[in-house]
């Protein structure tokens, strides 16, 4: 019994090693879980980037809501993938142009392509605050009833989409 006790430090060491190893390989340590999962998308009255008309609701179908800005380098890296998602898989995406300049946003869309059904302009970040956005890009999965089902912080890419796709397809 006493002899077995001698192995205790080794056991603790291995245990901690395993925990640290998991910690090191976690995908993104800075990604926080959203407080809005299974909650309705916040209400808003904002203008669209494209026409400047006021809008206050999302389309009633499963969509991605993508928060982006021209000052955000990762958004640029992500943009080609969003184009591809829309073109090849017909995924419906609504953009939120977050704390950005309207002119630059329009230039961006004509230069890099527009994968969005429409873009909501959120120049002061009020809708962003309601959504708990803390860094662009962020993407929400919203179902046809306007309920937020999942959130991804960081860029969308093939690898991320693999896991998000199942969640997206599970939405009504």
């Amino acid at each position: 019994m006493n002899r077995l006790l001698l192995f205790l430090p080794l056991g603790i060491f291995i245990g901690m090693g395993v925990l640290f190893w998991i910690g090191l390989h976690q995908e993104d340590k800075s990604a926080l879980p959203s407080a809005l999962i299974d909650k309705p998308f916040p209400t808003f009255i904002l203008n669209t980037v494209e026409s400047g008309e006021s809008t206050n609701h999302l389309p009633e179908e499963p969509i991605l809501v993508n928060i982006w800005a021209t000052w955000c380098p990762t958004c640029k890296a992500e943009h080609a993938f969003l184009n591809q998602l829309q073109r090849e898989q017909g995924i419906k995406i609504v953009g939120i142009n977050y704390k950005d300049d309207l002119v630059k946003a329009k230039q961006w869309l004509s230069a890099y392509g527009n994968p969005y059904m429409f873009n909501i302009s959120d120049p002061d970040g009020q809708l962003g605050l309601e959504l708990g956005v803390y860094g662009a890009p962020e993407t929400f999965l919203v179902d046809s009833k306007g309920i937020i089902r999942a959130k991804h912080v960081g860029d969308l890419n093939t690898k991320v989409w693999k896991t998000l796709k199942t969640k997206f397809e599970a939405m009504e």
């Binding site: 006493n2 704390k99 605050l129 708990g132």
Partner: protein
């Protein structure tokens, strides 16, 4: 009387909280202090180890502005904290809530401590006390000689 007047004036004078170079104006000192306290007790979601009061990130500045607005609307500190938790999650407060998934966080240290105490107790119990033979005449004499030598140094 004059001191009292001064005190009343002090507390009713508009005052400013200056956080990260931004000025927030309040009608009294009490609110200014409440604002500073709130900014220090809410964590910036972008910068992990900084409070809203320390961080110069844009999201922290937006959140400070919102705290300010909500205070102007007359909301209590608790309501404002809840407002932020509803949007940014438990991460924004430095105090983790008491819930099933946080039990380990709350009781882990106590658990590890009591485990250590138990370990020490059990190790002590198992320690065998071996009686030491008394010194022989010869050894006693040698010990005395060494002591004398040490004293004379």
């Amino acid at each position: 009387m004059r001191a009292l007047l001064l005190l009343v004036l002090m507390f009713s004078w508009p005052s400013f909280a200056v956080v990260e170079g931004h000025k927030y104006q309040f009608e009294n000192l009490e609110d200014t202090q409440r604002f500073t306290q709130l900014a220090e007790s809410l964590r910036c979601p972008k910068c992990q180890n900084q409070s809203l009061a320390d961080s110069d990130s844009p999201v922290a500045s937006d959140m400070r502005q919102k705290v300010y607005e909500l205070m102007q609307e007359g909301q209590s500190s608790q309501e404002i904290t809840q407002y932020m938790v509803d949007r940014y999650g438990d991460f924004v407060t430095y105090e983790p809530p008491f819930r099933p998934e946080t039990i380990l966080l709350w009781f882990g240290p106590v658990l590890i401590f009591s485990f250590g105490v138990l370990l020490i107790i059990s190790l002590r119990k198992n320690q065998k006390t071996t009686a030491v033979d008394p010194l022989s005449e010869e050894e006693l004499a040698r010990l005395q000689a060494l002591k004398d030598k040490a004293d004379s140094l």
